[in-house]
């Protein structure tokens, strides 16, 4: 990012109010998840590698990101997204 004089330190989008928690699952967690729901990765909702939040979380294509959303109905809800390239 270009350093303009007015620029504060690079802002981490994960700190924004609108952005829920993004965590990359490790391999075992991912396996357990797939087994629990009986689905394949590509049946999950997707997130692009270039997505600012995915980048901030350090995700790579093929990873699964756990998203912990603040939900107005459930309080806190967990969702998963499969990291894809395009």
């Amino acid at each position: 990012m270009s350093e303009e004089p007015e620029t504060v330190q690079v802002f981490n989008v994960l700190n924004h109010e609108l952005v829920p928690v993004h965590e990359v699952l490790d391999e075992d967690e991912a396996k357990a998840l797939m087994a629990r729901y009986g689905v394949k990765e590509d049946q999950l909702p997707k997130i692009q590698v270039a997505d600012p939040a995915a980048r901030a979380a350090g995700a790579r294509p093929g990873d699964i990101i756990r998203v912990v959303r603040m939900s107005p109905t459930a309080g806190k809800a967990v969702a998963y997204r499969f990291v894809v390239e395009y």
């Binding site: 303009e4 007015e6 620029t7 504060v8 802002f11 989008v13 700190n15 924004h16 109010e17 609108l18 952005v19 829920p20 928690v21 993004h22 391999e27 075992d28 396996k31 357990a32 087994a35 629990r36 909702p45 997707k46 997130i47 692009q48 997505d51 600012p52 939040a53 995915a54 093929g62 998203v67 912990v68 959303r69 939900s71 107005p72 109905t73 459930a74 309080g75 806190k76 809800a77 967990v78 997204r81 894809v84």
Partner: protein, 536 residues
């Protein structure tokens, strides 16, 4: 001895960079490589450290293939629950104790029930119970009963499998939509900023328009900046686009054919600009020179090729030069909000740049431009914003739509990782079924194209099955019943009660009564409901 691309790819997936992967894969299969030891690797020209690294990476990637991990055991219910709870959060010791108690109780209630009946207690419900319990100092028995009831309710209100949630959602949003006004309203509270509301706004959200017709931002300020009106003004100046004509009078001198720019002192001060700033900016003018007028704060612009027409051109150019601010921000309004201090509202939006401005709180600042949110903050933020904006638009008109319907809309729009519109270009237009697309819009085009290409329709959706006259794959239509013949054979007929004795009808006055039909009472073989297995 070329490297097999798939082997290279497999190695890359195990954390190797491309170069190393290619070197390893040269003429070898993955199995060969995994069989190599440190010595073998060093013979290939790897240094000791590199070889060690390679072995470690291979070993790490191999671990999940160990037999114990190959078949991950079904996690227990409380582990599923943990996914909901075990997110870093502050719980007091007291709360934690209650939390664990509730989790245990829910788990117990889940014991022995069918897999589909397992209830996960939503975080918010759990919090609520804990809060109430602590407030009322409830005893364990009472808490247990509350949990029991809650689980009961949760089980009951859950959406059934194969329920047509999309249709329900569409109607739940569509009906109130008919009551919406078609007007552009003023933004509540900030009278000066116009914002599209009502149906046009709702359509805009659902269409995933690149830019809303009235983009606006809520810009919150950081601690230390939000308490002071002067500081808020400084930030506002940095953001609001200011043209030269806003801070100076630009006059044409017809006699000498030059421009005279007279900065307005008060306005310059508000915008914290100096004459030198203006001079710098005026250098951008082509075929003209800007010079300060000695012993005044005026600036003269002298043309390279004097001419009346040219002078007018340059005047026009000069007045529309941007001297300060960010692109896209047309106007700002500063207001004091309780709890937030001074907040800047802007007409026009430029999220990426505004977040970088000093004094702006980048964590809370938002825009109503959903595409910009997607680009700057990502898909999940966009999802949140779609929900929020749609809900706000509806509730602003007093229409209360359950948030869950809007969540579904937001989920569908963001499912593939980018914000997709619902409609011709988006969800409906990209369905895989030809018949479904044809049923939606531009029927002939879709059918013709599909015919030319020889496409197939797998009849998996709703619309296409209605077209061909089959049960749709949703709701009760999604369930198939099949009889287990083996078990059916074991079923013993239940003996029927003896048939009721029919009384002989009393003969009527006719001489020859018609012969009564013998009531052929066939002993109805009970078609006992054999063991029925359901297939979904």
């Amino acid at each position: 001895m070329a490297a097999n691309p798939s082997t290279v790819k497999a190695l890359e997936g195990r954390g190797f960079d491309k170069e190393t992967a290619e070197r390893l894969a040269e003429g070898r299969t993955l199995k060969d490589i995994q069989g190599l030891d440190k010595k073998g690797l060093m013979e290939l020209g790897f240094t000791g450290n590199e070889a060690q690294d390679v072995i470690e990476k291979l070993a790490k990637a191999k671990r999940p293939k160990a037999p114990s991990a190959r078949k991950p055991k079904e996690p227990a219910v409380h582990e599923v629950l943990e996914a909901y709870v075990d997110v870093p959060e502050e719980w007091t010791a007291e709360e934690e104790k209650l939390r664990d108690r509730i989790i245990k109780k829910v788990e117990k209630l889940n014991e022995g029930v069918h897999e589909h009946e397992i209830v996960v207690m939503p975080h918010r419900v759990m919090r609520e119970i804990i809060k109430m319990a602590l407030e009322r100092d409830a005893d364990a028995k009472l808490i247990d009963r509350v949990v029991e009831k809650s689980v009961d309710v949760l089980r009951r209100i859950r959406i059934d499998p194969t329920e047509a949630v999309g249709i329900v959602g569409a109607q739940s949003i569509g009906e109130p939509g008919t009551q919406m006004t078609m007007r552009t309203f003023h933004y509540a509270g900030v009278a000066e900023i116009n914002v599209t509301l009502g149906l046009p706004r709702l359509i805009e959200i659902v269409d995933a328009r690149r830019q809303p017709s009235t983009p606006m931002m809520n810009i919150y300020l950081q601690e230390g900046w939000n308490a002071d009106a002067a500081k808020a003004q400084v930030v506002a100046n940095e953001i609001e686009t200011t043209y030269l004509k806003d801070v100076a009078a630009i006059d044409t001198d017809m006699v000498e054919l030059k421009l005279v720019i007279r900065p307005d002192k008060a306005k310059m001060k508000v915008k914290s600009l100096t004459r030198d700033d203006l001079l710098d900016i005026l250098k951008k003018l082509r075929k003209a020179k800007a010079e300060p007028v000695p012993e005044s704060d005026e600036i003269e612009v002298i043309l390279d090729e004097p001419g009346f027409k040219r002078l007018q051109q340059v005047q026009h150019q000069a007045s529309n030069i941007k001297v300060k601010g960010l692109d896209g921000i047309k106007r700002v309004v500063i207001r004091k909000e309780t709890g937030h201090g001074y907040v800047i509202y802007s007409e026009g939006s430029n999220l990426a740049d505004v977040l970088k401005v000093r004094g702006v709180d980048p964590r809370r600042t938002t825009t109503n431009d959903i595409q910009a949110i997607y680009e700057v903050l990502g898909i999940e933020a966009a999802r949140n914003k779609i929900m929020e904006e749609a809900y706000a638009t509806l509730s602003e008109q007093g229409l209360l739509v359950d948030r869950r319907h809007l969540m579904l809309v937001a989920d569908v729009m963001t499912a593939d990782g980018s914000v997709k519109a619902i409609g011709r270009q988006g969800i409906s237009g990209q369905k895989s079924s030809i018949l479904a697309r044809a049923a939606f819009e531009i029927t002939v085009d879709h059918l013709l194209r599909a015919g030319m290409r020889g496409e197939n329709d797998h009849l998996q959706g709703v619309a296409e099955n209605i077209i061909v006259g089959q049960p749709v794959n949703i709701g009760t239509g999604a369930v198939r019943l099949a009889v287990d013949q083996k078990k059916f054979a074991e079923v013993k007929p239940i003996p029927l009660p003896p048939p009721p004795v029919r009384k002989e009808p009393t003969p009527v006055l006719e001489e020859e009564p018609l012969p009564l039909e013998e009531p052929e009472e066939e002993p109805e073989t009970e078609t006992a409901e054999g063991e029925v297995t359901s297939e979904t």
